[in-house]
Amino acid sequence: MSTMHRPVTAPEEETLLSPKRGVRARPLFDPPIVKSALRQSFLKLNPATLIKNPVMFVVEVGAALTTVLMLRNLAAGAGQIGFEFQITLWLWFTVLFANFAEAMAEARGKAQADTLRRTKTETRARRLLDSGEIEIVPSSALRAGDVVLCEADEVIPGDGEVIEGVASVDESVITGESAPVIRESGGDRSAVTGGTRVLSDQIKIRISSNPGETFLDRMIRLVEGAQRQKTPNEIALNILIAGLTLIFLLAVVTLQPYAAYAVDTTKAGSVPSIVVLVSLLVCLIPTTIGGLLSAIGIAGMDRVMQHNVLAMSGKAVEASGDVTTLLLDKTGTITLGNRQAVEFIPTDGVTEAELADVAQLSSLADETPEGRSIVVLAKEKFGFRGRNILEHEAEFIPFSAYTRMSGVDWQGRRLRKGATDAVVKFVTEQGGRVPSSLTEASDRISRNGGTPLAVADGARALGIVHLKDIVKGGMRERLKHLRTMGIRSVMITGDNPLTAAAIAQEAGVDDFLAQATPEDKLAYIRKEQSLGRLVAMTGDGTNDAPALAQADVGVAMNSGTTAAKEAGNMVDLDSNPTKLLEIVSIGKQLLITRGALTTFSIANDIAKYFAIIPAMFVSTYPVLGRLNVMHLHSPESAVLSAVIFNALIIIALVPLALRGVRCKPQDAASLLRRNLLIYGIGGIIAPFPGIWLIDRVLGLLHLA
């Protein structure tokens, strides 16, 4: 009954619709990042690494080929050196731009990792030996299983679990949250993270990981790309674009004999040069998505991390976009962490006003949200103002775990409110008698999941204050948005089914799991998965571990146990269960960005055909000049403009790839309509003016 007095900091007053708190936004083109990315763009030209990206590898081979041909022509003094030089240059730019996009994403991830790494300062640890003696060792010498002592003002030397004692810890280095948190042995708040600082008391910690294997280390490696593995969807997309590349390769390679036949029968013009054929190939293969694909993936991971969530794999981020069922803990996620007064229930012979008055008086000094809510309710219902009773020699009785009551001694009256049995005991000790209606009301509220607070004025039991869960502001809309996106929300609560149903209805969740045990959660997840659904959940306790492991997306709270963190595939450093909703939208955004850029890339081809095909064959069939709908001023300029457009579009779309396509909560049909219009139809249209414009510029500069 003492949930109201948990020694936690004030509840977050943020609404769920303003999720950006704690997001460490970074300017898109941070100079040091750009500098390092530029350098990396050249290093990534190494064919051995580039071969992992088949599209860009083909472009590089094409660029190398034109370079050789250009040099040969230069030596022989033949060919159109100016044109060939420009084509070669832009083909290399195409590869470099793609490399730059990837390097940018990696560099941003690395910068994020460096921020994390800064928390990993070398400290000295006090290791407890089996003999009971203490030796001082550097934190890097600690191994899993070692036990260390930490007291106030010391930095915790490594990830571990509190096995003895309780302390308040400042975790602001990882969470950015300045309020200290309590870490104690046993229970679900036993995990501590290396680099955080003990503020008070002394704790004994069992170190849980070897140096270099902590969550932070793993995460840093992941974002730095060393361990980045392609996600399933990314591999499938790679297959698709590699397949398209192969098809266009066939189309371009065979164009040579086709053109030779045409030249042969017309006895006019010449077969397009290799340089022109390579240009056509590079323009047709999906270089836009090929160049940006890995950047999109890395940036997605990075965005998750900007929300202070560590994802253990890119796969987990991708899966979160697919989630169709969200398991949300009631307390802290759907409802405010604290309950609020909603009703005064007086016993026989007591008016509601009298009860409200005493309840308010006894709560005036109570700074807990529950206490404040009683003051507010009395004011709203009966217009009682908060009286300044301090002037009247009032003595406040703070809450204690022993009395489980709080209140005030004022003008000889002993006003108390607290747990029903405690107040009953208090009244009986004063010689008073407790009417059965009071205990009945109390039981009824308990049964329905509310919290009853009994109120007494000395020996007189006055009645019950009904405290109830309050659904967070904006939650209803938020859950409605989820439903629009096709995601079911399920509330998990320890409450009985009646209460759960009431809150579920109020919050607008699709389903609820009442009196949920960890086994129930696990069974529920399995049931959902057997229906083909993907489930995401948050958890912090050791007994959540099986469910976290079973869920497709399991977000463990950083404040949770090591077991929970090991079981999940993400860790929320802020320990904010609402974060699940952001993670889902980041996953969706990642997939949408990939789809949008693929569509755009493929749709672009139509315009490029109209630029290059007439240019290629106009010397053989002058009449094909009719297909030159953009009226590009010369065949060379047409080919060059298409190649330049193709290269520049990669750079132009880097910001989109890094930030992700905007994702509003919409149903799939409207989302598809919108994105098809922008990236499909837009992708067909956009290159026409783009190529035309480049052609004009080239003409003005006398480049082609």
Partner: protein
């Protein structure tokens, strides 16, 4: 387009729409093993086949077993057809004596390469014909070899489509049906009864069905003429229904004995489309959502009608060169006008253009007019249809599984744009599906583009086996872009298992027979095997329940998406090639240049 042309297509489409649901629903019943009204009549045939062949009806196959069965069946079919042709001189029902020591004058000998080409052609449901039926093959070969393949190659295609549908419909299943059962059911309950009725109808309209000797006639001018006859109606019916297209006669359905009247013409076009159209409904019914089937039907209809409109208008506008010479080719009160070269006067522009569009949409390949004589744009429509991988209704079964592979690609790309791992009909589209769909698309593109390119580059020595000496392109009857169109069309037709020809090339040489045969094999089996792999992979997956977050795969939005995918991924690959063929030819025609002879008018 003329008013009568517009009316013709409207009536035609309404009739097609009307038969799609009943036929589709019936086919779903047949393949799902439910009793139909035909079971009391034909049930014993099915059972007899199972008993005779030892097929156990309830036994299910994994996709690998299913594919192995299909391949084994195809191999046996090939060997059978090959040897029947080679040995036709020793076999009965050969009144004209083909393949004997005394063949009729002008008969084409069945060489090993021609027999290979024809056997592959009929086994793969292509029905490319490098021979003229009435001057090459005996009645026995036409009936026992070719007509039988017309049935079973179509039934095999439908079986693969069923396997793929089951892949979508089933949940976490290891198997996708039994090839032998699907083959039997398709043949016994669908193809046989429909063909029987249709053949009787054709007989009634004057199509011959006889085993007698060709008729020796004396014309009014006193000239002697041999009129070829034979068991035509029986082959004609399944040739259309089975989307085969291999005519009894060289002139195919422009021959009055294959297609005597405008009514038979109408019904023959309809019969090409009947099963492919019906299968879209079968698909919808079997996956439990008929809207899905109608969506595919709409995609196919939009592309078919679009193609028809372009083709028909191009033909109706006629040839500007003739107009400039003072020939009246416009539509007037006394004539329909248009480009009538190579068309039958009794059919006219609209029904010829419709036939040309439909026969290349549905992978049939029969013709009632000569595509080679179409205006370039009119001829581009059939060529484009081939290059879409034959998914605009497509062949029996092959059209449906083809468009489903495109749907997989389309869903994969666009499906990402709704923020989920793409799924189609509740099945996640992942690596394996994408890989297999791409293999299928690449295989046909490879076959068309590479074989065309190779042939352009080929030169043969004197006295060689492959071809008469000189360039392979010397076999063309036309030069310039038109000759190129003929070649591109030939390999497109073979690779897509269509079988229609632009004609204009002498293709009965070992080089063309073998290369085209290879193209047919690639187009058939490198499409079917990946399709079955997809079926197996999909069947194993869970079915994800539909929510408002699921990509809607029914409705107009998806129609647009799928049409876009087919055009951009499927056909745009061929735009450079097409631009050197029909596209430039059309532009040149307006400048007054034609390519009727090998002598190229340029530079002269």
């Amino acid at each position: 387009m003329t008013t009568s042309g517009i009316l013709y297509i409207i009536v035609f489409f309404l009739v097609l729409l009307a038969i799609t649901k009943p036929l589709g629903s019936f086919m779903a019943d047949v393949y799902e093993g439910r009793r139909t009204f035909l079971h009391p009549v034909l049930g014993w045939v099915e059972n007899l086949i199972y008993r005779a062949s030892g097929v156990r009806e309830e036994e299910e196959q994994r996709w690998t077993e299913y594919a192995a069965s299909l391949l084994a069946f195809s191999l046996v079919s090939f060997v059978f057809v090959y040897f029947l042709q080679r040995l036709q001189g020793l076999l009965p029902l050969n009144p004209m004596g083909f393949g004997t020591a005394h063949p009729p004058a002008g008969a084409t000998p069945v060489t090993p390469d021609l027999a290979f080409n024809t056997a592959v052609s009929f086994m793969t449901n292509t029905n490319w014909q490098a021979y003229g039926g009435e001057t090459t093959l005996s009645y026995f070969v036409q009936m026992a070899a070719l007509t039988v393949q017309n049935f079973v190659s179509a039934a095999a295609g439908m079986a693969v489509a069923m396997a793929l549908i089951r892949g979508f419909a089933r949940k976490q299943a290891k198997t996708i049906g039994n090839f032998w059962v699907d083959l039997t059911r398709g043949t016994v309950y669908i193809l046989l009864p429909l063909s029987l009725l249709f053949a009787l109808f054709l007989c009634a309209r004057g199509v011959p069905q006889t085993l007698a000797h060709y008729i020796q006639a004396t014309t009014l001018q006193g000239a002697h003429q041999t009129i070829a006859v034979g068991p035509v109606a029986s082959q004609e019916a399944i040739k259309m229904l089975g989307t085969n297209g291999g005519g009894f006669f060289n002139a195919n359905s422009s021959h009055p004995y294959e297609n005597p009247t405008p009514l038979t013409n109408f019904i023959e076009i309809l019969s090409m489309l009947a099963i492919p159209a019906g299968l879209t409904y079968t698909f919808g019914k079997m996956v439990g959502d008929t809207r899905q089937g109608w969506t595919l039907f709409t995609v196919m209809s939009v592309m078919m009608l679009g193609g028809f409109l372009i083709c028909c208008s191009a033909e109706q506008s006629g040839n500007p060169v003739l107009t400039r010479m003072g020939v009246q080719t416009a539509h007037t009160q006394t004539q329909d006008g248009g480009n009538m070269e190579g068309k039958e006067v009794r059919f006219g522009i609209a029904s010829s253009a419709l036939w040309a569009t439909v026969t290349t949409d549905v992978s049939c390949g029969s013709v009632n007019s000569m595509h080679d004589s179409y205006t370039p744009i009119g001829g581009l429509v059939p060529l484009f249809n081939l290059q879409t991988d034959e998914v605009i209704f497509g062949g029996d079964g092959s059209g449906l599984y083809g468009i489903l592979l495109y749907a997989i690609v389309g869903v994969f790309i666009a499906g990402l744009m709704v923020g989920r791992t793409p799924e189609y009909l509740g099945k996640k589209i992942e690596q394996k599906e994408v890989k297999m769909a791409m293999i299928a698309v690449i295989a046909t593109a490879f076959s068309i583009l590479i074989f065309t390119g190779l042939t352009l580059d080929m030169h043969f020595k004197a006295n060689g086996y492959w071809n008469p000496p000189g360039a392979a392109i010397a076999n063309f009857n036309n030069g310039g872009p038109h000759g190129f169109s003929e070649l591109l069309y030939a390999f497109s037709s073979a690779s897509e298992n269509n079988g229609s020809a632009f004609a204009g090339i002498n293709v009965n040489t070992p080089w063309y027979n073998l290369m085209l045969g290879l193209a047919m094999l690639i187009g058939r089996f490198l499409f079917i095997i990946p399709t079955l792999a997809v079926a197996g992979s999909l069947a194993e997956k869970k079915k994800i329940p539909e929510t408002s977050g699921t990509l809607p795969t029914q409705g107009l939005l998806f129609v647009g998406l799928l049409v876009g995918t087919i055009i951009i991924i499927g056909a745009l690959t061929f735009f450079p090639a097409d631009s050197l063929g029909p596209i430039v030819e059309q532009l040149l025609m307006h400048q007054g240049k034609l390519f009727s002879t090998i002598v190229f008018p340029f530079g002269s």
